[in-house]
């Protein structure tokens, strides 16, 4: 058992857990553990971003079209919200470090609000995509097309491709120009972009939800005075590390998903 002078805090539990020798060792372990965890998270997102990169190199046109069909306005607002929440959680560390209970609660609550509004906007965006029918899937339909000799034929394409064509043509002139240059095969394959879009943003949303849950938990702890011994500011600190990471992932996702232009060698000539 640790026999530090201040091992028994004002809370119910001792500040230094039984298996640590002193508070410094505990704080260092907690920080280190979170950094190692974030390394695994980098690899986790790295795997899917690697697959994204490979597919985008093969199919630049499809990725451009898919990206154009998304709603960058909501995503820009969300970027602003998430960056602000990174700022507020940093103020929360400062408040915890200085032992300001009210400040800690205020900044934790602000972070939670900003994160929740982010999720609300994200849900609205998903719903918009759903209404536009931009959901990949095996459903097929028939469209009018011409074959190589110019003869009119009926062609089986995915429902997604028809929806994509419709969305792009009614968006703006640039989107229509992109859509007009695409074949039905390419429209079909744009589903691949949307698979990445939903899976990466979905993973990001899951990380946000976990983070918000932890933030609520910390807010409750702050309410009951768990962070009164200021040594425990380290828990707010590692929470903020995680939150910054989730923020940082979004900083990567925003350009990769919403600004995917046509960068390929055959487009350059």
């Amino acid at each position: 058992m640790a026999t530090n002078a201040h091992a028994e805090g004002e809370g119910r539990q001792p500040i230094v857990a039984h298996h640590f020798n002193n508070i410094r060792q505990q704080q260092a372990s907690v920080r280190f553990g979170m950094w190692v965890f974030l390394v695994t998270e980098v690899l986790f997102f790295g795997g899917v971003l690697c697959a994204y990169a490979a597919c985008r190199i093969w199919y630049p046109k499809e990725f451009e079209a898919g990206s154009t069909a998304l709603n960058p306005f909501i995503a820009s607002i969300n970027t602003f919200l998430l960056l602000s929440s990174s700022f507020t959680i940093t103020l929360a560390i400062r408040a915890a470090y200085k032992g300001q209970r009210d400040g800690l609660r205020l900044w934790l609550a602000s972070t939670i609000v900003l994160g929740t509004v982010f999720l609300g906007f994200k849900a609205k965006e998903y719903y918009g995509d759903y209404e536009e029918g931009l959901i990949p899937g095996p459903q097929k339909t028939l469209v009018d097309d011409v074959d190589a000799t110019g003869k009119p034929v009926l062609r089986e394409v995915s429902v997604f491709a028809v929806n994509l064509k419709h969305v792009l043509e009614h968006k703006n002139a640039k989107a229509k120009a992109i859509s007009d240059k695409m074949t039905w095969n390419e429209r079909d394959r744009t589903q691949m972009f949307f698979v990445f879009y939903y899976s990466i943003t979905g993973l990001h949303v899951i990380h946000m939800i976990v983070g918000l849950g932890l933030l609520v938990w910390q807010l409750i702890l702050a309410q009951i005075g768990f962070f009164e011994p200021t040594e425990r500011h380290v828990y707010i600190e590692v929470m903020s590390l995680y939150w910054h990471f989730v923020d940082l992932v979004w900083i990567f996702l925003f350009p990769l998903l919403y600004m995917a232009g046509h960068h390929s060698m055959d487009g350059a000539f």
């Binding site: 857990a17 039984h18 298996h19 640590f20 020798n21 060792q25 260092a28 372990s29 280190f32 553990g33 190692v36 965890f37 390394v39 695994t40 998270e41 690899l43 986790f44 790295g46 795997g47 899917v48 690697c50 697959a51 490979a54 597919c55 093969w58 199919y59 990949p136 899937g137 095996p138 079909d188 394959r189 589903q191 691949m192 698979v195 899976s199």
Partner: protein, 578 residues
Amino acid sequence: MATTHAPATTPTTLELDYTPQTAPPVVDVDGPPKVHYLNHSFGWLSWLLTVDHKRIGILYLIPLTIFFMCGGIAAGLVRLNLIQPYGAILELDQYNKAFTAHGTIMLFLFLIPVIPGVLGNFFVPMMIGAKDMAFPKLNLASWYVWMGGAMFFIAALLFGGLDTGWTFYPPYSSKYSHTNVIWAGLGVFITGFSSILTGLNIIATVHKMRAPGMTWGRLPLFVWAMYATSVIQILATPVLAMAVCLLATERIFGVGIFDPSLGGDPLLFQHLFWYYSHPAVYIMILPGMGVINEVITCFSRKNIFGYKAVAWSSVGIAVVGFLVWGHHMFLSGQGVYLGMVFSVLTMLVAIPSAVKVFNWTATFYGGQITFEAPMLFTIGFIVLFTIGGLTGLFLGILGTDIHLHDTYFVIAHFHFTMVGGMMFAWQAGLHFYWPKMTGKMYSDFWSRLAAVIMLVGFSLTFLPQFVAGYHGLPRRYPYYPVEFQMMNILSTAGATIQGFGYLMPAVYLPLSLFFGRNAGANPWRATGLEWQTPSPPTMHNFEELPIVTHGPYEYALPSKFTLEDGHAHETKGGNGGH
């Protein structure tokens, strides 16, 4: 008891006699402690809610043994079926499910978690002089995650099965297989998280929890190996999780990421899969190599030859292991130049592996070798692992791999490293540390016999497969030409002997709990910190914070026990060495 040397009163007047000793005597000076980690509290909940790293180690041990038996039974079915050229007992789809069950259970539910889960949890904190892991609750959570994933996986295998092989290659797995690919994939995904959390915990523990004086240069080599393993676990496992996620997405939504008919690329999956799964074979073997260091020094009564080389070779294997995954795809349509690069990089892994083998053999040289069961397993390990490693070179070379790819040669190579290597190392570790974990000593005769039987059975199983594979017998096929029947019968006979060998520890180790004599604190008279505690260890491992003043294998120095209890040993003051 011979009293050839009067116990000295102070170390300054002690005249050290460096006459080498032979068998280390087993002396129980104090008897087991009254209250230790096994009996300080009772009841199911005291185990299921424990955060004690030692109890969590035991929690891993029991299901792991059961999973090993499940995987073994599946292997037995496969071997039995291959007695006849057109299959002896199984339908074709049953055969596919049997070899998939064998591969997946053994890899994901046994080989990957076994040593990190049991010996890593139990001994890494003790070896570095800590009271527990850095994050004890996370440690328990990681066990629950692992059990949850394993249950998922077993359920998927029992209700419907899986027939993709352990590699889950699309488009077969994403489009054509009618078995539980998604559920099994979810099981792999979940157990992967447990693997990550265990690795994270061990890395944080090694960095932050070392006792005063326990510098990196004084860490036992088992800890170095576990550290390297953990680095691979946290860097590689997330990528597998991602690959399985994408596979499930493709299967559920019917969209192409890997399926070529939908615009995807199966090679992409293979890249993501092997980016994890090749380093994963080092997750499996490195902890085993760590155990070997501990056993070999103890039963040679010598310091390890080239401590730094062995320590850094673990790290080297971890690093280079990340750069060689492409050698699984020489014939999958990967570019020829990429294949050449991967071939050369694959050769590089042989260097740190060979450093280890040479240093182990050099440790034998001039040592006072005794042949207790752990040492027999260790010698088996070195021989079999060397054969496995050298035949791996055949497969790493681009030209020969074209001939040997997907034949029984690959199977034999892989089993020589994984069973001959890891399984023997696991047995060595289990037998070496059993007295410390339980406080009881198992039967010397039966344990040595088990080691010999396993070695004989193993060799008979897999040596013929090298020949069969060289002559072109492909892996995974249920039917084969009749001229291969003799090889297959030899293999199956060997598998039967092996099965008996594995059953023996399952009998005499539990029996030792009831009938074994008390082992005493340090039955092998080893020098590590973990042996300076009573057996079984007390709740917090150490009565007081240990201060470390020397390296882990100072068998040439008089140990603490020699100085204090010199009369208790049949020694002449020193304990071996020059």
